[in-house]
């Protein structure tokens, strides 16, 4: 998710950068535990912040191992760690996202390969969640970010706008769907955590070490 100059230039993300990305994403989750939990209390069961924290604590415990691996294996390993530690809905979904990315990506992907792998990962999330765009979930951030990546849009503003855009939606998937119309007017917690991850990743990749 860097900003490669052309579709066909392969990106090399070295071990130090991999480590910084992992740490930045984890830190973003740790810094927003309360916010995510509050969002989930409003329309879910109030654990999303804690779930993400628990998952990324496990990831951080093994950061050396993860960062040392080539990009695909690193992504798969982190995805598997999330699956095995988060629980809830977000664990299998983020885990599936990352594991699919890991399966689809070469070690040094081109931008086109990244776009395609990200698209496949989103499809895998949909399949796992029996869900689709517009249902007030993390997909409503992942989808627009995927489009922005493909079309060269700004990932950060896209992610924020997309998270904000979940507010007026009525939830069709996730615990919030039990609320029906009462889910309207609240941001989806998974959309927010997705946006936070995007910020953390772009921030590292755009900042020199």
């Amino acid at each position: 998710m860097a900003d490669p100059t052309s579709d066909s230039t392969a990106m090399a993300i070295d071990e130090a950068t991999r480590r910084r990305v992992i740490a930045a994403v984890a830190q973003a989750m740790f810094d927003h535990v309360e916010e995510l939990t509050a969002l989930d209390q409003a329309i879910g069961d109030g654990d999303h912040g804690l779930n993400m924290k628990r998952g990324f604590e496990a990831v951080m415990a093994d950061i050396d191992t993860h960062a040392a691996k080539p990009l695909p294996e690193a992504l798969s390993g982190i995805g598997m760690a999330l699956v095995m530690k988060v629980g809830g809905a977000s664990g299998p979904l983020y885990g599936t996202l990352l594991m699919t990315l890991g399966k689809q990506l070469p070690a040094e992907p081109t931008r086109a390969e990244l776009v395609s792998a990200f698209g496949a990962a989103i499809e895998a999330v949909k399949a796992r969640g029996k869900s689709d765009f517009g249902q007030k979930t993390m997909l409503d951030v992942l989808g627009p970010v995927h489009a922005a990546l493909r079309d060269g849009g700004d990932l950060d503003t896209t992610a924020d706008k997309a998270a904000d855009a979940t507010v007026p939606l009525k939830a069709i998937r996730g615990r919030a769907s039990f609320l029906g119309d009462r889910s309207i007017g609240h941001m989806d917690p998974g959309a927010r955590s997705s946006a936070l991850m995007i910020h953390a990743i772009t921030n590292v990749l755009e900042t020199p070490a």
């Binding site: 654990d47 299998p92 029906g180």
Partner: protein, 327 residues
Amino acid sequence: MKKFMNGPDTILAESLDGFVAAHDDIVAMGEDRKFVRRATLSPGKVALISGGGSGHEPLHAGFVGHGMLDAACPGQVFTSPTPDQMIAAADAVDGGAGVLFIVKNYEGDVMNFEMAAEMADREILTVIIDDDVAVETSTFSTGRRGVAGTMVVEKIVGAAAEEGRGLADLKALGDKVNAATRSMGVALSSCIVPAAGTPTFTLDDDEMEMGVGIHGEPGRRRVKLEPADAIAEEIVTAIAAEMGASGDALLLVNGFGGTPLMELYLMYHAARARLESRGFRVTRSLVGNFVTSLEMAGCSITVTGLDAETTALWDAPVQSAAFRQGM
């Protein structure tokens, strides 16, 4: 937040350790506290494994034992367990006849059990429980939630597994009992997730949450507190509307954790009269705190239509920490 705990990070482990120690004649702890299993396994029978977020005690670990579950996987509070837990549990208790997962219909639970079934290298079928009529399926594509009816399925299918029935047969039985089961709950107060520290929702002194879920998820509507008879009337009406023909029925009045037995029996009284006036015959009954939401005050009413087969299975012996009869 007032809880007996040493800290939110250790509450689950310390509680599980206490549970297993208190009932070591019935249960044993799985490696890394990934699951609780029967102390003594019966090789050759289909293994029943359930699990889900913690905070619903005695569900599920309290139902591990002869005549019910073989293992239960406790997740964090109100968070589905992770696939490694179900895989480890299956490895420990599968006696060669296959594994039946009993899963409450929450996306988190369904997905985690699904991933476990995909990753585990063994024969696994799954029964999904979705008994909560508070969720109107016409509007919610996620479908109904699984609530207190889960223990009814665990009991009846558990008894059938003890008889040596096969995996597909048990899956069909579980689906049948689930289809015959309807529940709805009401909360008078919220619960507090230990790690969150604040109430999941707040009700005014004269309000109740009608149709609440077992994680403090808001329900159908927030209304003024009403007399018990009016509450029972609304719930029984909602349940009866979703049942097929009236007939023999099991009536379960389940407390959410913070409501005293005195009130649960009063609700049983009110609900039973209303079921009977609609032509149901309440032939089996259960009243108590079985599928809870931490300290939430409130209760749910569950009705399961019974036939000769399921009645006999309900009556079969069971010896778990939280439900015991005939042994």
